[in-house]
């Protein structure tokens, strides 16, 4: 990685390699263009690029009346499920670390069981199981239930790993100054664990957002439903419509992904800033801090 254009796997190209690379670039470029052309003509044969199939997306009412309500439903379900899943994850992640066997074991069973069951099955179960108990379970409630318990269980494992990764001395120091167990957890371990686990938590929230699309199967009126049922029902343009909503999903998820990277960079910087003066003070600026 020292010089421009070189990586671990190959040297800086010399004149002959450069020539060969240029020829190969041209060859692969042509192959990729041929693949793209093939796909394009196949769709063209079925008339998928015809203007009238795409024209609806240039009109404001398609967006305000058909697509954006779906997007709003997707975001509502994702936001509520995210909050509940974070709560679920915090509670069960901490419960799995309890000193009491009767708390630890049931929590472990719940987390492991919900992690093994597909989200779609949990959604079906919420619908049918809820009506069995005499409850009216809307599609929204079923989707939120499935997403909450599944992603909550995954988040519980993330939280548990995060807490276990905090150096032992932190908890010991907390106990030494007379904090109770729950104070040590709440004031010392959890804040550090959550900071360290932020990127993992955000990527799990991306998974959660993508999984709201499962609502399509139970006819929840989400973004995918708008793009694969509502808009095509009006304009008979399934493929253009699915492509447009895919772009919306990708844009939102990429934005969340950038948020995760930014959070990671920020937390790394702040840890460095907060650790270094303390290290210098304690060690007289000579012995490096071992973490």
């Amino acid at each position: 990685m020292t010089e421009r254009g070189a990586t671990v796997l190959y040297d800086v190209p010399g004149p002959r390699t450069r020539l060969r690379n240029n020829v190969l670039t041209l060859a692969f470029g042509v192959v990729l263009l041929l693949v793209a052309y093939f796909v394009w003509t196949k769709f063209d044969e079925k008339g998928q690029w015809k203007g009238e199939l795409w024209e609806p997306f240039l009109r404001a009412d398609t967006w305000t009346e058909l697509i954006l309500p779906g997007l709003l439903n997707t975001l509502t379900a994702a936001a509520l499920a995210a909050v509940l899943a974070l709560l679920f994850g915090a509670v069960f992640g901490i419960a799995r670390l309890s000193d009491h066997r009767w708390v630890r074991i049931p929590a472990a069973v719940v987390v492991e069981a919900f992690r093994a069951v597909p989200v779609l099955m949990l959604i079906f179960f919420a619908q049918y199981g809820g009506s069995l108990a005499g409850l009216v379970v809307t599609e929204f409630a079923a989707v939120v239930f499935g997403l909450t318990v599944y992603n909550g269980s995954v988040l519980a494992e993330i939280v548990r790993a995060g807490i276990l990764a905090v150096p032992r001395g932190q908890a010991e120091a907390g106990s030494a100054i007379g904090l109770r167990k729950n104070q040590v957890m709440r004031l010392i371990l959890l804040p550090q664990a959550v900071t360290a686990m932020m990127p993992a938590i955000v990527s799990q929230l991306v998974v959660l957002l993508k999984d709201t699309a499962l609502g399509f199967v139970v006819a929840y009126a989400d973004l995918l439903n708008a793009g694969a049922r509502v808009v095509p029902a009006n304009y008979a343009n399934l493929i253009p419509s699915v492509i447009v909503i895919a772009v919306v999903y990708i844009a939102i998820n990429l934005a969340l992904g950038y948020l995760a990277t930014w959070l990671e960079r920020r937390s790394r910087r702040s840890r460095k800033v907060s650790a270094d003066p303390a290290a210098a003070e304690m060690a007289g600026g000579e012995v490096p801090l071992v973490r």
Binding site: K46, P118, L120, M121, F125, Y128, A246, I250
Partner: protein, 223 residues
């Protein structure tokens, strides 16, 4: 409980379909994912760009959307057919396309992270004895890279087992959709049926975790 016993052949049939979906799309994703990883580390910017575009698009699109695109878009609108008379076979292969297209993007990223763990000296040594880029990758880097990422590949496979249920979106009668149909047929036995299907998934995923953990330890490259 009776309902579960009575319907056992049906339930086992549904799980057999789940297993077939997992195995076929698992193999395709592994091969295609490794090819994508090779593209993403290649010296040619065209291939790197194409690989990166593929991975970023597929990873950020919901699997349900991809499966719906394959089933309704490719299947119904584009008339892509794998079997003229067997509709369920047709949707089976269309969902294989969707599952493999999606999973391979994740395999690519896992393998690429494995390539990063191979020490610099290995590639330098390979180049020093005159191996080309493809030889370096095939003979020296990838065997070590894949062995270091067996555990994450195992969790991808585990996720794939659960993701096959999404094929229900285009009517493939795998475990989840079969469970829903049994709910409709046996309204009084919802909880036993659910527990039965949940146990089925535990039975499928638990050995996978143990096996990938054991393989990862046995095949680990000692450094």
């Amino acid at each position: 409980m009776e309902a579960v016993v009575d319907e056992l052949p049906v339930i086992l049939g549904a799980f057999w379909l789940t297993v077939k979906l997992t195995v076929v799309s698992g193999v395709i994703s592994l091969v295609w994912g490794i090819v994508l990883a090779a593209m993403r580390v290649s010296p040619l910017p065209v291939l790197r760009g194409a690989g990166a575009l593929y991975v970023n698009v597929l990873r950020n699109t919901p699997l349900t959307l991809i499966i719906v695109f394959c089933g309704l878009g490719l299947g119904t609108v584009m008339n892509v057919q794998f079997s003229r008379d067997d509709l369920s076979l047709n949707s089976f292969w269309l969902s294989i396309i969707g599952l493999s297209a999606y999973t391979s993007a994740f395999v690519c990223e896992v393998v690429r992270s494995g390539i990063n763990t191979v020490p610099l000296g290995q590639a330098e040594a390979a180049r020093a004895i005159g191996l080309t880029f493809l030889q370096t990758l095939r003979l020296v880097i990838l065997p070590q890279a894949v062995r270091t990422v067996i555990a994450p590949l195992g969790s991808l496979l585990n996720a794939l087992v659960k993701n096959t249920t999404v094929a229900a979106a285009i009517g493939v009668m795998e475990a989840a959709l079969r469970m829903k149909n049994l709910f409709d047929a046996h309204g009084d036995a919802i909880i036993p049926i659910f527990l039965g299907f949940a146990a089925g998934f535990v039975v499928l995923t638990l050995p996978l975790n143990l096996l990938s953990g054991r393989l990862a330890r046995r095949l680990a490259v000692v450094r």
